[in-house]
Amino acid sequence: MPKGEYLLEVRSEEIPARMLEPGVKELATRVFEELMARGIGPREVETGYTPRRLVMILSGLPEREADREEQVMGPPVRAAFAADGAPTPALLGFAKRTGLEPDQLARVKTDKGEYLAATKKIEGRATREVLGEIVPRVLAGISWAKMMRWGSGEGPWVRPVHGVVSLLDGEIVPFDLFGIAAGAETEGHPTLSPEPFRVADVADYKRLLAERNVEVRPAERRRVLHDTMRSRAEALGGTLVDDPALLDKLTAICEIPGVMEGRFGDAFLELPAEVLSTSLRDHQSALTVADAEGGLLPCFLTVMDRPDDPAGRARSGNEWVVAARLADARFFYGEDRKAGLAHRAEQLQRLNFQEKLGSYAIKTERIVALSAFLCDQLGLKAERLHAAEAARLLKVDLATEMVKEFTSLQGVMGGIYAREEGHSEDVWQAVYDQYLPASADDPIPRGKVGQIMGLADRMDTLVGIFGLGLIPTGSKDPFGLRRAAQAVVRIALEGGLPLDLEAVATEAARLYGDRLTRSAEKILDDLRPFLYDRIRYILGLEGFAYDEIEAGLAVGVANLPDLRARVDALHKVREEAAFLSVVLAAKRIANIVKDAAEQPIDESLFVEPAEKDLAAAFEGLRAEVEEAASAGDYERCLRLIAGLAPVLDRFFVEVLVMAEDENVRRNRLALLQAIGKTASRTAKLSEVVVDKAEARAKAG
């Protein structure tokens, strides 16, 4: 009995590391979907890759598609028979086309009346045939990030194709891919086991490749690399400095996971650890080994596409290159220290921040002023001097040799040089941390001064670019403004900085003078929703529900820590039964008072006991809510409001708001309006989504 096992291997020239994973995923997903759509999906899909091959193994494939029946509609019954009941030419023609006798046709009722129909049997195709059609089409259609042509114009594909293995239960499923015929032959590792060999089936393929220095499972290569590197690092007396992204890359540039261990001269240890590891990572794709004190050992670990290094050539070659690279880095480091930051600061005049927004020297002036403004807003007095000092140094490292060579060291290098030049910890750390957080995993800057720098720099950029009307759209965000805005939100939230960001943006716009083409108001109109989107995202990551965040945003944002406190309070009390009634009441109030003008409450106009009770209960509560809100105790605020639930419910049962007497009606609206306003002190409760069934159950 056939196992229904299909093996596909496409051998090509080296596919770029970054494209392998998405490429093989797309291949497997699309083939799987197409098979499923035909009712012949596999039980299991396995994929693998190396730089030179994409592998897909399908198992548990049925032998063929199911036979199916298709109904072909014929003429309407009224046109099928003549008055005497004899078949008309229309009927006879249809019967002939379908190869059936008139009495074998079925009658089918439709919207348009009764029709004759023929049932046609369609035989299912063999899976082999379907694979032979689907697989080459899907392969050729993979959307690689960058494609090429070769030879006389073959392609486009990611790289030239050299061989295809396509076997279903050991038999070739033939097709042609860019002139290469699918077959049963492949090759092992190109330098270690280059001889071609035939493959019988999946088990055979796996065994023979393993013997020929190829491991097609990336997860297994990654595991071996990681384990070997960790144990080598330990044997060296240190610990491996993990770098998951780099490990992914190393996994994707070898067919067999060999670890290359090398050393560099102790003398290079005088370079800062950040420089050593950046040079090793960027130039040599190498990981480093930390010693017990957090410094680095003079060692590095990277990949080689072979299991061993018998002549020591891989090692001596890598060590030679690393020595040359580190010598370069040492040269840059020496030049920078000789010149000093003050000298580099002059060069910022020639470094453009943005064509219309001027040089980095001019940006520096703005950051100095904006960070002073931020200190004032936050009432930070002690930090003011340090903030000014850090702001002046902030961008200077962009003119250093080291940052020109390794742009990823921007900020870090400035921090290191500032430390060496004797600036205080507050100052050098602020410079060092200024680009944090660069990703979701990064922390925010360590100190208050660093947080101020991170905010001032990014708010200046956001307002400047928005001020030129260059607002990011879709995937286009050349200035990285989304990331900048996200960092602003995180710093303010996690740093607990009660800043009015709109005031900061207005001040940032003012500092640009006449460089901007748009007014501060216009900028805010675009920047506010842009920031709100980041706030929604960040608070969402923190675990708040969508409606909680919307309810919080709907009453405006004085500052971000306050917003979070309000959303958090809502999150905590929303499940309480009394609170649910208040939300329902709030929705009702919002609907009723939607268009009503605001006006004072006149107690003499209350008629019904229920409305008198409500007004009294509310009067007793109002000041307390205000007090709790001012103290930032929003949970208490919400619970106080929830206390109104029984009287509110009674009010809605016993009182008709839309009374005939206009004064009575207006007064009732005024009461509800006031209650609505106080209830919204924390969040717009009518925005909270309530499960209808749950609400009914609780309401009894």
């Binding site: 080296e14 042509r149 006389s152 330098t191 064509e355």
Partner: protein
């Protein structure tokens, strides 16, 4: 231990056997072997072409007064063009490494993505940097576009960095220590030149003169193209490009000027590319086979024109 010239000789011998025209270096200053007309112009149009040559390549801004053991203002590239790229081009390249004496069973050879783009030539390609034991020894590119024109057939370009390769094979600590020929180190042949060229490019070159050179060669290139003289026109464009590189090394090109100057060079390159294809077509694409010519519907004019 392999000398600099042995490496050249072995590469020439290898690629000559593969049917390459052994061309000589272009006698003008260029930044890379790609700018040699036997690459830049020959990759255009439908005609097949195989060529190999050494090209001294000048990058004034990379000069280090002969002080830096790894960097040169002028280095040598060994350039190979195979058009159309044969399906076994990668295997041929690996064999060329064996031909220069590498036993690949003892080394780690990898092809890492590295795409090439030359905005001033309106050219780009897809390929790799070839890493041998962690060192980049070759740039391997499938040209996709040149002079702003889509290419068909596709050419494979293989560029070996000769100094780096020699240095690496002997694990020398300095370029200047490698032997050009036995007994004569590279430094004796070239170090003074590196020093003096750095001095000139960084300190002495006359900015006003160079700017007028740039303008002058640009105008001259246009006059040539208008007169239907593609090859001299292209040479003038190369002189323009070199003037730009020297100005850049001299620190005389601001960020905004830079974009404008590069565009002017690019416009010339695009103009030359277009004119070259037209000129070859007029000649009936003489390197095509009769069948290929017929398929394209062109005929050969009198070859002596």
């Amino acid at each position: 231990m392999q000398t600099f010239q042995e490496l050249i000789l072995k590469l020439q011998e290898f690629w000559a056997r593969e049917g390459c025209v052994l061309q000589q270096p272009l006698d003008l200053e260029v930044g890379a072997g790609t700018m040699h007309p036997d690459t830049f112009l020959r990759v255009l149009g439908p005609e097949p072409w195989r060529v190999a040559y050494v090209q001294p390549s000048r990058r004034p801004a990379d000069g280090r007064y002969g002080d830096n053991p790894f960097r040169l203002g002028k280095h040598h590239q060994f350039q190979v063009i195979l058009k159309p790229s044969p399906l076994d081009v990668q295997r041929l390249y690996v064999k060329s490494l064996e031909a220069i004496g590498l036993d690949l069973t003892k080394h780690d050879l990898r092809f890492e993505e590295d795409n090439w783009e030359a905005p001033t030539l309106g050219a780009w390609g897809v390929g790799w940097q070839v890493m041998l034991d962690g060192m980049e020894i070759t740039q391997f590119t499938y040209f996709q576009q040149a002079g702003g024109l889509e290419l068909k057939p596709i050419s494979a370009e293989i560029t070996y960095g000769l100094e780096r390769l020699t240095m690496f094979l002997s694990l020398s600590q300095s370029i200047y220590d490698i032997e050009w020929v036995e007994g004569i180190p590279y430094g004796q042949v070239r170090k003074q030149e590196e020093y003096e060229l750095s001095k000139y490019y960084f300190e002495l070159a006359d900015v006003t003169f160079l700017q007028s050179q740039f303008d002058g060669w640009e105008a001259e290139a246009r006059r040539c193209l208008e007169a239907g003289l593609v090859l001299p026109g292209y040479e003038c464009a190369l002189k323009c490009s070199h003037s730009f590189n020297v100005l850049d090394a001299r620190g005389a090109v601001s960020v905004t000027e830079r974009v404008g100057l590069m565009k002017r060079v690019r416009d010339l390159a695009v103009g030359c590319a277009k004119a070259y294809v037209e000129s070859r077509e007029k000649q009936g694409f003489p390197l095509l086979t009769a069948e290929a010519r017929e398929a394209l519907g062109v005929s050969v004019e009198v070859a002596s024109a």
